[in-house]
Symmetry: C2
Subunit: 423 residues, 2 copies
Amino acid sequence: MTHLDRFAVLAANGRAARRVLEAAGPDARSAALRAAAAEIRTRAKAILDVNATETEAARARGQTGAFLDRLTLDAERLEGIAAGVEAVAELPDPVGGERRRWTRPTGLEISEVSVPIGLIGVIFESRPNVTADAAALCVRAGNAVILRGGSETTGTSAALVEAMRAGLRAAGLPEDAVQTPPDSDRAWVTAMLSLDEDGCDLVIPRGGKSLVAHVREHARVPVLSHLDGVCHVYVHAGADPDKALRITLDSKMRRTGVCNAAETLLIDADCAPDLLPVIAGALAGTGCALRGDDAARKLVPGMETATDADWDTEYLDAILSVRVVDGMDGALDHIAAHGSGHTDAIITEDDAAAARFLGQVDSSVALHNAATGFSDGAEFGYGGEIGIATGRLHARGPVGAAQLTTGKYIVRGTGQVRGSWPR
Amino acid sequence: MTHLDRFAVLAANGRAARRVLEAAGPDARSAALRAAAAEIRTRAKAILDVNATETEAARARGQTGAFLDRLTLDAERLEGIAAGVEAVAELPDPVGGERRRWTRPTGLEISEVSVPIGLIGVIFESRPNVTADAAALCVRAGNAVILRGGSETTGTSAALVEAMRAGLRAAGLPEDAVQTPPDSDRAWVTAMLSLDEDGCDLVIPRGGKSLVAHVREHARVPVLSHLDGVCHVYVHAGADPDKALRITLDSKMRRTGVCNAAETLLIDADCAPDLLPVIAGALAGTGCALRGDDAARKLVPGMETATDADWDTEYLDAILSVRVVDGMDGALDHIAAHGSGHTDAIITEDDAAAARFLGQVDSSVALHNAATGFSDGAEFGYGGEIGIATGRLHARGPVGAAQLTTGKYIVRGTGQVRGSWPR
C-alpha cells in the first residue's frame, strides 16, 4: 500500500471517530482529557525514557542549543503538559452554543450553532508539547486529529499519543480520535496535503517558515497557517513615557524568538526627541541592537542604519528597527506597507488616536497600551493555542478550541413551503 | 505583460481601493450601492442593447433553452437587478460590529469585531445578474472585488461593472473597488488562482461542478466553494401527513435545477405504507420520476429501481430517489454515507426526534418541518447570496455580506506588560 492509501485508512478511522466524539457531548470529551492527563502522569517514566533516548540521539548528531532544548522533556515539563491538557478539559464547551438566532417573516426560526470542524491534520516540528496541546484542543472541540510531528521526537510523540488514546478509551470514546502515522516519513505529509474530500477538513502547520510555505504550496485541503510576525509598537505623541518604555522593552525583549515579539518601533516626530534616547538606552542595556532611519539616528548617536529590507524583516532576535514617523498617517502607512497583519500596538493616552489606530490598522490583533506578547492563546484565556493565524479566512489571531469549530444553521418551521402544493 | 502581471495590477488597484472602502464607513458604502442602482436604471437601454447582441450571438452559435435563458436580460430582470442592489444597500452594516467582548485577569479588555476580508475574486458563468449581486454584497461588507464572468456575456457584465463603478465614484469612493478583466481569456482565471500573497484574499467560484473542481484543483489562495447539493427530506414516523406531502413536493419540484432541491426522500418503514403511495402519486402528477429501493417499490407499483449510484447523485432534474428506512438511525446513517453536507430536512411532529435529527445530521442547513428551498440567502434575510458554501471552514451555508467579513481582535490595556521592566 502507498502512503496515500495508508493515510486514507487513518483518515477514515478519524472521520468515523469524530462522528462519535461529536455525538458523545462535552462531558465525555472533558472526561477523556482528564483521563489522558492522568495517563500522561502514570506513564511519565516511560515517556521520559523514550524522550531521553531521542534527545541523546539528536545530540549525537550534533544538535545543540535552542533546537535541542525544544526536544527535551523533564519531569517538570511533562507535568506542565499534563496540567495543560487538564486546563483544556475545564474550558467552557466550545461546541453546540448558539451564535445567533432570528425569526423570518415566513415564521421560520433560524439559529446558527457551533459544531466541530471534523478531522484536523496538524503538522509540526520536533516539539513534544505540541502533541498533547494540539490533541487536547482538537478533542475538546469535538474534532478528530492526525498528528504528524518532527522526526527527532517521533517516539516521544507516539508515547504521548498513546496516553491520549488511553484517555479516550477510559471515557468510552473511540481512540482513533487521536492518531499519528507509524513513522516520520515525509510521504505522510504529502498524503495529508493531497487527500481531498475523504481526508482532513483542515490542515494546520505549526512551525517555521519553510514548513508553512511547503504546506501552503502543496495543500489541496484548507489550511490555517501562520506566516510572518512583523509586529510594530507605535509610540504616539500622546504616549505616557513610562508606558512607552516598558511596553517597548517587553514587546521586544521578553522573548525575541516568538512570533508576537515586536520587530519595529515607530515613534512620532513630536515625542521622539524626548523619548527615543531613553527607550534606545534601555533597549541597548538589555542587549538589543537598534537599526534606525536618519531621523532616529540623529537622536541616538551610534545607531546602525536600517536598510529597506529591515522594515520587512522578522528578526526573531535581539534586533529592533526604529523609524520616526510624522504622526498617525505615517505610522498607519508604514504598517500597511511593511506589516504582516499579525499584531500591532499603539501607546498613547489620547483615546481618539487610539480608536483611530485600533480601527484602521489591519492586524489580527491590535493593542492599545499593552505589550504585543499578549497576542497569545493563553493570555486570551483560550487555555492554550494551536497557533496564531495570519490568514484572513475562518479565524485570525490566536486559535484555541473555539476557533476549531464551524457553524451550522438550524431552521425550525411549522410546515412552510415556498410554492403552493399540490398544484 | 503576461496575464499574471496584468492581473497583479488589478489586484494592487483593488487592494488600495478596499482600504479606502473600509475606512469610509457603512453610510458611504450604502450610498455607493444606491447610486449604482440608479446608474443601472439610467443605463438600462445601453445594457439591454449589449445583452441583446450577446444573446443573439449565443443563439446563432446554437445555444438554447435554460442556458440561453440565463444569459438573457429584459427590462423587468434588469429592474430586479437594480432593486437587488438597493436591497443590499439597506442591510444592517455587517462590518465593525462586536462579535464578543471579555475581560482578562490582567485587566485587558478584549473584543472581537467584524472587518472586511479584503480583496475577493469571484469566478462565475454567463449569468449577468451575478455581476451585480456579487459586487453589491462584497462592497456592502467593505471588500473590493474582481469579477471574472463567463465569455458569453462579457459585454453585459462589463456594462454592469461600469454602472457599479459609476455608483462608487458618485459616493466619493474608489471605482477600483469593483473591477473586471478586459476580456474573457481563461488566463485571467489562472492568474486569479495563482497570485498568492499580493492577490485575492479569497476566491469564490459560482457555477457548475467543472468550474468549481477546476478552481479547487488550481487555487493557491483560499476558496469558498459549493460542491454537490445531495439534499434529503426525511419523513419520520411522527410526520404530519399533509406537511410531509407538501414539503416533499416543494423541496423536489419547486425548482429542480437548484442546489437546494431535494434529491432523495427517506421515509420511515412505520409510516411508508400509509404515506408513500400518496406522496409518490402527487410527485408523479407533477412529472417527477421516482427511483426506489425494494421496500419502496413494493408500496408503489411501477416505481423504477434505484441503483447504488442514485443515492449519491445530484439529479438537478425531476427525478427523486426513494428509500424506506428503519427509523432515525437508518436515516442518519444514509445521510452520513450519501449526503453532501448541504441541506437536509426532517418532517415530524415529534420534537425529541426533530432535536436529535437537527443535532446529529452533519449539514450546513438542517431544517424541521420546512422545505429545503429555504436554504437560501434571500430566505435567510441576507438580501441575496454569493453562493451556498459546503466547505467546513469560515462559512457554511448561504453566504451573504456578513459572511464576507472576518474577525479582528481589539485589546485595550492600561500599560500591561508580561515581564518586569526595566530589568
